[in-house]
Amino acid sequence: MLLIHCPYCDEPRPEIEFGYAGEAHIARPINPDDLSDAEWETYLFVRTNARGRHFERWRHVHGCGRFFNAVRDTVTDTFERTYKAGVARPGEADSWTGDTGGIV
């Protein structure tokens, strides 16, 4: 069972308090009508499914209820960091200095 650092509660909590919410940083298009069917398909269904560094969303369902983002290695299941929703997508692991909202 993973241990996940909620950036809002600012503490590590067990996975069963959380719900996984899919890949992160897939913004809903502002005006969906402007998208072609293929672009809409990409928004709806196409996922990076990265083997390695994966940007993903979690929700602290049985806690503060907030959605937040995480970077996790899908090969080791190790969290690199979690950060609050709305924070820009971090770059490479060692170069990123954004607002962490808590380091795992």
Partner: protein, 953 residues
């Protein structure tokens, strides 16, 4: 005292005899014995039959590595446990055990005939045979194989024992309370950290328990740990190492007690989260691979030492040793000092440690270097061995009643491996040891490869002058895998250890290869002409030792399996004799039978009551979400298909929610309470999902919206009053609301009081009749229900359940999301395209409705169906065709989603989805059942009160 019990030795209480039954025979052991030590003390070596060949087997080890001595333990009705190792069964009064996999008896087992036919059963034989004739696999071969297979008895009665669980949070968890684990605990105990030390054995100490010289130190150390507040758990097995410092462990609480005195839970699952973990899981001695190495009496040397020092039992009176590792010598010395005869020490190595030689000489032991055992003798117990100098055919026989093997040590790296820790090959040990680092976890002691004393060589099978393909040298004793099976697998092209394991089943028995994995690897490497690390290591899987299902299922059984959600009116319905059904997590009253009524009769009566008088329905399970804030209307506008901004406070609207894929997810009525406040209802099963979906959009897509969402499902009891006389029932109890149709028309909302408590009143109907849904604080729900029930008696009020609700709404063509829709219907498909705001530029799912497939004319659309035979009720789920009696595969154009006898109409009605259905209204279609094809006419999905006049009553 038996002939094999050694006075003055062991940690057991020989003064307290313990009576037990072994295969029906009464025997006596001593307090502190395991079943294994007690059997040895009684001179019993034959303890089981092997899986495939039914060969007689004896004890190999003294701990969880034991592959042979598997017992059925009977602790009373429902309390039979199969496949329990005799080495882990603590002796207690009334212990009743039976050996397994033999018939008619352990001594005379007809299954042993398979041993004679064993040339026909090499590894993988079943892949090569039993294919002709084709039908015989299921009728003949497989049933025969199944009967032969299996080990212990199949379960047949329900286990009455309880199992429990707890969470532990510690700074340091140490797994294994041998010397290394205890030292780690001592080192940490002064730090003030929360330290937990767990060990699978009944006593802490690990191998120290077989080393009397260290007993004083052990006792002192345990006292110091106790004083320091270290939590020490014995009989507790760490079954698996999981993510982020999580360890599952099972503590056995009662199996060591006589059944009559055992109280409380049988086992406890510990879910341990540890900041740091030290694995001090020790090492297991390795057997040696040579012809007939499976004869009872052939044991691990370390086991003999354990039986000697811990249990005061001699494994034989004249013991031979076959060693390839120095550690065997200490065992020989200890046995000799205890007065046990040593037949010989055979060592495969030419050059021996001078100090060991000297000591052997001092004790007068015969030492035979550079030689190997090439066979054993005896029927059901070893009576002698044959040995030969390496490379020589000059064999020699030696009589003995036990043969001890010292083949070196295998670090117990299972947990490290569970955690995906890397393993490296240690040439000196001839074994894999932990390598690299792991977050939170370190290894210490023998588990880390720090094994003493001495050196050894680690060959594959021992050399033999005979053709290795001509004899059975066992690698996996429990699964009857021999060295030649492994060589056969290699010959047949199975080159990876993972393939070899699966082809031969080496290491896949209930001991999970604790004594066979490395030997199997060495044999395979030899056959491949490769080094062991090149051939690889099979992955260790949790659990470390077999783990009771019940311990993992815990208290989640019966009513606690999943909580049943009940409304505040449930008790009333129960008292009225309601028949219930499960809907999502809720239990709901399905109908309220009177006297001898069946469901159809009760539903007919309930339906008539609603259509002609008044019915009362507990709608409390509907999901309720309070949507509050300046942007509440904007938020709902974006979520739901409908327009919300123009909805006036005091008005309700049917809301339809799609997924972003355009398919119907949920629906419900929402009322605007105020400019900035909505009371949104959802389906019973959809409440949590809808709230989660709303939160997702609100928090992550539209954080700019100023809206708060609150689940109020359980805050309100909802009482639906439906029928022409509904108003009459509530009117006397309502304060502060004008109930007149003008002031409170259909789809209006008002707040006031009922029966003196606050009320949210919805003028809504899911029946097509005049209807009210009374929402009151849940704590008052039952009282208000009972007051309205009493009031309603004058009006012939009738309680109705979900089944009547279904019939009434079907008569009106109202869909139930999840029954009439199935996750593949759009609003237009479901005939509720009117609920989609045509002027809205966006809402969740809107873009998907413009995809090519959503616009096809042959999409399945909701329609009504009327059978030619008005008394025949179509089966829900029945398929619809337009050409009767077509050959298989029959093209299907839709299916029946809802179907009932309508008491109101006096005939059957059905809702269905049919391809291009709305264009087929009036057409005849067919519903082919197994016995008969039924003709149906397609109709509007609306059967009653087409104008909706009754809603306005």
């Amino acid at each position: 005292m038996s002939a094999f019990r050694l006075p003055g030795r062991g940690r057991i209480d020989v003064a307290r005899p313990v009576a037990f039954r072994f295969d029906g025979k009464a025997m006596t052991g001593a307090a502190g014995d395991t079943l294994a030590s007690a059997l040895l003390a009684n001179g019993v070596h034959l303890v089981g039959r092997s899986f495939k060949y039914h060969r007689p087997r004896g004890l190999l080890g003294a701990g969880v590595e034991e592959p042979n001595a598997l017992m059925g333990v009977d602790r009373g009705p429902g309390r039979h446990t199969a496949n329990v190792r005799a080495t882990t069964i603590e002796l207690h009064d009334d212990l009743t055990v039976e050996t397994q996999n033999r018939w008619p008896s352990l001594g005379f087992d007809l299954g042993a005939a398979t041993n004679l036919l064993s040339p026909l059963f090499p590894a993988g034989f079943y892949n090569k045979t039993f294919m002709w004739p084709r039908s015989a696999w299921e009728t003949l071969y497989e049933p025969a194989i199944r009967r032969m297979a299996g080990l212990g008895k199949a379960p047949h009665a329900i286990d009455p024992d309880r199992y429990t669980a707890r969470h532990d949070f510690v700074d340091l968890l140490i797994v294994g309370a041998g010397r290394a684990g205890i030292e780690a605990a001592l080192a940490a105990s002064a730090s003030g950290e929360r330290v937990m030390l767990i060990d699978e054995q009944p006593e802490l100490g690990g191998k120290l328990l077989a080393n009397p010289a260290r007993w004083d130190w052990l006792a002192g150390a345990l006292t110091r740990l106790d004083d320091a507040g270290v939590v020490c758990l014995s009989r507790t097995t760490a079954i698996g190492l999981y993510h982020d410092g999580f360890v599952g462990a099972v503590e056995r609480l009662t199996d060591h007690l006589p059944p009559a005195t055992a109280t409380g839970p049988r086992e406890r699952l510990h879910r341990i989260r540890a900041a740091r973990i030290v694995l001090a899981t020790g090492a297991i001695e390795r057997p040696l691979v040579f012809a007939d190495n499976d004869r009872p009496g052939v044991m691990l040397a370390s086991a003999a030492r354990t039986y000697l020092h811990r249990y005061g039992v001699a494994v034989g009176k004249r013991v031979a040793l076959m060693v390839t590792h120095d550690s065997g010598y200490q065992v020989a010395f200890d046995l000799a000092e205890a007065g046990i005869g040593i037949a010989a020490i055979v060592d495969s190595r030419p050059d021996l440690d001078p100090s060991l030689k000297a000591r052997a000489s001092d004790l007068g032991l015969e030492l035979i270097p550079h030689a190997v055992v090439i066979g054993t003798h005896g029927a059901k117990a070893v009576t002698g061995i044959t040995l030969a100098p390496l490379g020589s055919r000059q064999v020699r026989k030696i009589a003995c009643d036990a043969l001890l093997m010292a083949g070196g040590w295998t670090p117990t790296v299972h947990l490290w491996s569970h955690g995906k820790g890397k393993l490296g090959w240690d040439e000196a040990l001839g074994a894999f040891v932990p390598e690299g680092e792991m977050d939170r976890v370190t290894c210490t002691g023998a588990c880390a490869g720090a094994i003493d004393p001495g050196h050894g060589v680690h060959a594959e099978a021992l050399w033999s002058p005979r053709d290795p393909a001509s004899f059975k040298a066992f690698v996996d004793l429990q699964n009857d895998v021999t060295a030649r099976d492994i060589r056969l697998a290699v010959r047949e092209g199975f080159r990876s250890i993972e393939h070899i394991k699966r082809y031969t089943t080496n290491g896949m028995a209930t001991d999970q290869g604790k004594t066979s994995n490395l030997n199997g690897l060495q044999v395979a490497a030899g056959a491949l002409g490769n080094t062991a690390p090149q051939v690889g290591l099979t992955t260790f899987r949790p659990p470390y030792t077999p783990t009771t299902f019940g311990a993992l299922a815990g208290s989640a059984k019966d009513a606690l399996f999943q909580p049943t959600r009940k409304t505040v009116i449930d008790s009333w319905a129960h008292a009225q004799g309601a028949v219930f059904e499960n809907v999502a997590q809720w239990r709901r009253a399905r109908y309220f039978p009177r006297a001898s009524e069946d469901m159809d009769a009760a539903v007919a009566r309930e339906c008539r009551a609603v259509r002609t008088g008044v019915g009362m329905f507990d709608a409390s399970t509907l999901g309720k979400i309070e949507v509050v804030g300046p942007d509440a209307a904007e938020f709902l506008n974006r979520m739901y298909t409908n327009p919300w901004k123009a909805l006036a406070p005091g008005r309700c609207r049917y809301g339809l929610l799609l997924g972003e894929d355009g398919f119907i997810r949920d629906d419900g009525v929402a009322a605007r309470l105020a400019d900035d406040r909505f009371h949104v209802t959802t389906t019973t099963g959809g409440a949590a999902r809808v709230l989660g979906m709303m939160e997702d959009y609100l928090q992550t897509e539209w954080p700019d919206l100023d809206v708060w969402l609150t689940s109020t499902t359980e805050q309100y009891a909802v009482i639906a009053l439906q029928g022409p006389r509904a108003r009459d029932v509530i009117a006397p109890h309502v304060e502060g609301v004008d109930l007149s149709p003008e002031a409170l028309p259909h789809m209006a909302y008002a707040e006031g009081r009922i029966c003196g408590v606050p009320m949210r009143l919805f003028r809504v109907s899911f029946t097509g009749e005049l209807g009210f849904e009374v929402n009151v604080p849940a704590g008052h729900g039952l009282a208000v229900w009972e007051a309205l029930w009493a009031e309603g008696q004058r009006h012939g009020i009738t309680a109705y359940g979900t089944e009547t609700m279904h019939v009434l709404r079907a008569e009106k063509g109202y869909i139930i999301v999840g029954q009439d829709s199935d996750g593949t219907l759009t609003p237009d498909d479901a005939g509720i395209g009117w609920a989609v705001g045509k002027k809205k530029l966006d809402f969740v799912g809107r873009r998907s409705l413009a995809r090519p497939d959503m616009l096809l004319p042959d999409r399945k659309q909701l329609v009504g169906l009327l059978t030619d035979d008005p008394h025949y009720v179509l089966e829900e789920g029945a398929q619809i065709v337009d050409v009767p009696n077509a050959p298989v595969p029959v093209p299907m154009i839709g299916h029946v989603t809802s179907s009932y006898h309508s008491p109101t109409l006096g005939r059957s009605i059905a809702l269905a989805v049919v391809a291009g259905g709305r264009a087929r209204i009036g057409e005849t279609l067919f519903v082919p059942m197994a016995d008969k094809t039924h003709r149906v006419t397609v109709s509007e999905p609306l059967f009653y009160d087409r104008e909706g006049a009754r809603l306005d009553g």
